[in-house]
């Protein structure tokens, strides 16, 4: 167990380490002069000011030195300052992060409830009209663009019916974005849950359980669902990363002040230090969640440790 967890921890560390290299290289991959591009939108910058920025970002040094400086700053909790407004980046990102996490987790809840329900039902009633209906809903849900669905929900529930408000920062303005992101993710969860559960329903021990004459409730909950728990936890773990990706778009549809909205603004403004900070934060978060998932996975299914 300890060896397995150590291996997983190491792989998370490697991912984050590679991210730091990628983030430092990022600015050098920009075609043309990144400093000029950063200030392309403001007309009144003098060449001297550009030189100062170049010096402050360390871009006038050799690349390995830049990496060493960036790393030592990051390890001290200093992600640098934004180009626009000269704000410290780490507090800015950390201030926005709870909003993104609230959106991601609440939509994951929506996706789990709807997706597990539909997927389980479809697998149990396999081959019936109900199964087909569930799967039509699921493939429709996978195909609907999340930004379009969000806009439709705004039109119906916020504008026409005025049930919810949009562009706030309290839990009531979270309902629509969470539903939007949750419904599209539910479709993926439903499809994966269905195929997982069909595999399980075909197992011999389930057939034995039915043959023993156990009541349906016992077979489903004690035998089938329990075996399905491990793959389903994995599905949900994978879903978290997709949810984080979808959150970037949904935050922009609903003007929800998370890190995704901040990142898109940063890309528009070519604010490279902020983009670097966002990528690093996002990658760390995803690495930590998948590490947590691996640990949970090992606890739920001890066999995995020995493979």
């Amino acid at each position: 167990m300890a060896r397995y967890l150590l291996k997983r921890l190491l792989s998370a560390v490697v991912t984050i380490w590679v991210t730091t290299i990628a983030v430092v290289l990022l600015i050098h991959l920009v075609p043309g002069d990144p400093v000029k591009i950063m200030f392309a939108q403001s007309q009144s910058t003098t060449p001297e000011q550009l030189e100062t920025v170049r010096h402050n970002l360390g871009l006038d040094r050799p690349i390995y030195e830049q990496y060493a400086i960036y790393m030592s700053r990051v390890l001290h909790g200093d992600f640098g300052h934004t180009i626009r407004g000269d704000q410290p980046i780490l507090p800015l990102l950390l201030g926005r992060l709870p909003y993104t996490l609230a959106l991601a987790l609440s939509s994951l809840l929506v996706a789990t409830v709807i997706g597990l329900g539909l997927g389980f039902l479809a697998a149990y009633k396999r081959g019936t009209a109900l199964d087909s209906l569930c799967m039509v809903l699921a493939i429709g849900g996978v195909s609907v663009p999340v930004f379009w669905l969000g806009q439709i929900l705004i039109l119906v529930f916020a504008v026409r019916l005025s049930w919810f408000q949009v562009a706030g920062s309290d839990w009531r303005s979270l309902i629509l974005p969470a539903l939007t992101l949750g419904v599209t993710n539910a479709a993926v969860v439903a499809r994966l849950t269905r195929s997982t559960m069909i595999d399980i329903f075909n197992q011999d021990y389930i057939r034995t359980a039915w043959a023993k004459g156990l009541p349906a409730r016992t077979v489903l909950s004690r035998h089938a669902l329990r075996a399905g728990l491990v793959p389903i936890v994995t599905i949900l773990g994978l879903q978290f990363t997709y949810t984080m990706g979808g959150a970037v778009i949904v935050e922009n549809v609903f003007s929800w002040n998370g890190i995704g909205r901040l990142a898109v603004q940063a890309i528009f403004q070519r604010d490279y230090p902020l983009i670097q900070g966002f990528i690093l934060t996002f990658a760390c978060l995803v690495a930590l969640v998948s590490l947590a998932m691996d640990v949970l996975y090992a606890v739920l299914d001890p066999r995995i440790v020995h493979v």
Partner: protein, 304 residues
């Protein structure tokens, strides 16, 4: 269930067996016959066909120039003259949606070509060569995979700058790990089979082994991944365009049309309805087709 062999079937049983190839239909016929039995596949193929036709015939079937503005007919609701209505600049939405299908197909094809080409190369080389090359390539793929495609696409656009071409490249790069992993998995399986050792022992060269033995086995699963990949690429690129990081106005790209319609959609809902519907339908078409192909080509799925 008959106890004894029916005498009237004897001549047929004694007749020479047809060649094995005729008994087992090839992949093309298998896909063809499967699609016919799979309503989802038929619907998907029809949608994709309509999309292709609309892209090819756009100048003939579009009633207006997609970029032609008319001050007098701004935001007119759907009518016989403008079946999808007009947008905030008086442009005919039907014509824009039709021309948009060209961009959508282009995005799908280019993005998938980038990810398919690179992923195939990485997976083949990584799986075939083994050793440190394998470790570096596949470890790199794992890291890229854990970055998630959204983050890679955003980073690529941040580097390259917002434009439709860059969005296609970004979406293409973001999907490379999927193709690399699938290819790598197939190569590992094939490498462990006896015929592979036989080919090596017979002195087959690297290129011969890769092109004659490995590639044909990699193609079927990659067709499935690519077909589903088109829908993912279309969705992702439309998302980037919607955020303003992909196609720029006045391009009739569907995601960009949704973005520019945002300010007016409470007054003129058609401005967002039709481009959104177009994206959803195209993505649905490729998803249904991809699902049907997977069932046709994946033996595990066929048995079920």
């Amino acid at each position: 269930m008959s106890e004894s062999f029916p005498v009237e079937e004897l001549p047929a049983a004694l007749a020479p067996l047809p060649p094995a190839a005729a008994l087992r239909p090839g992949p093309v016929r298998r896909i063809g016959s499967f699609l016919l039995r799979n309503p989802g596949g038929v619907i998907g193929a029809t949608i994709v066909l309509c999309l292709v036709l609309s892209a090819v015939l756009a100048p003939i079937i579009a009633p207006y120039d997609p970029l032609h503005m008319g001050a007098g007919r701004r935001l007119t609701p759907p009518s016989p003259a403008h079946p999808f209505g007009t947008d905030e600049f008086g442009r005919d939405l039907l014509s824009r949606v039709i021309y948009g299908s060209r961009l959508t197909l282009q995005i799908g094809l280019i993005a998938v070509s980038i990810s398919l080409g690179t992923g195939l190369l990485v997976g083949l080389v990584g799986g075939y060569s083994g050793g440190w090359v394998e470790r570096i390539l596949m470890r790199g793929t794992d890291v890229l995979f854990s970055f998630t495609d959204t983050l890679i696409a955003l980073a690529a656009v941040a580097v390259l700058g917002p434009s439709l071409t860059n969005a296609m490249i970004a979406v293409g790069i973001a999907a490379i790990p999927y193709y690399a992993r699938v290819t790598y998995g197939v190569v590992l399986v094939e490498k462990s089979k006896p015929y592979f050792d036989a080919a090596v022992a017979a002195g087959a060269g690297h290129l011969r082994i890769i092109f004659v033995h490995l590639l044909p086995n990699v193609i079927p699963p990659l067709i499935v991944v690519a077909s589903l990949g088109v829908s993912a690429a279309v969705l992702a690129a439309a998302g980037l365009s919607f955020l303003g990081l992909g196609a720029q106005p006045p391009s009739p790209e569907w995601g960009a049309m949704l973005a520019s319609g945002r300010d007016y959609f409470t007054r003129a809902s058609w401005i967002m309805t039709f481009p959104g519907l177009a994206i959803a339908l195209s993505v649905l078409g490729f998803n249904l087709l991809g699902d049907a192909l997977r069932e046709a080509l994946d033996p595990r799925q066929r048995r079920r």
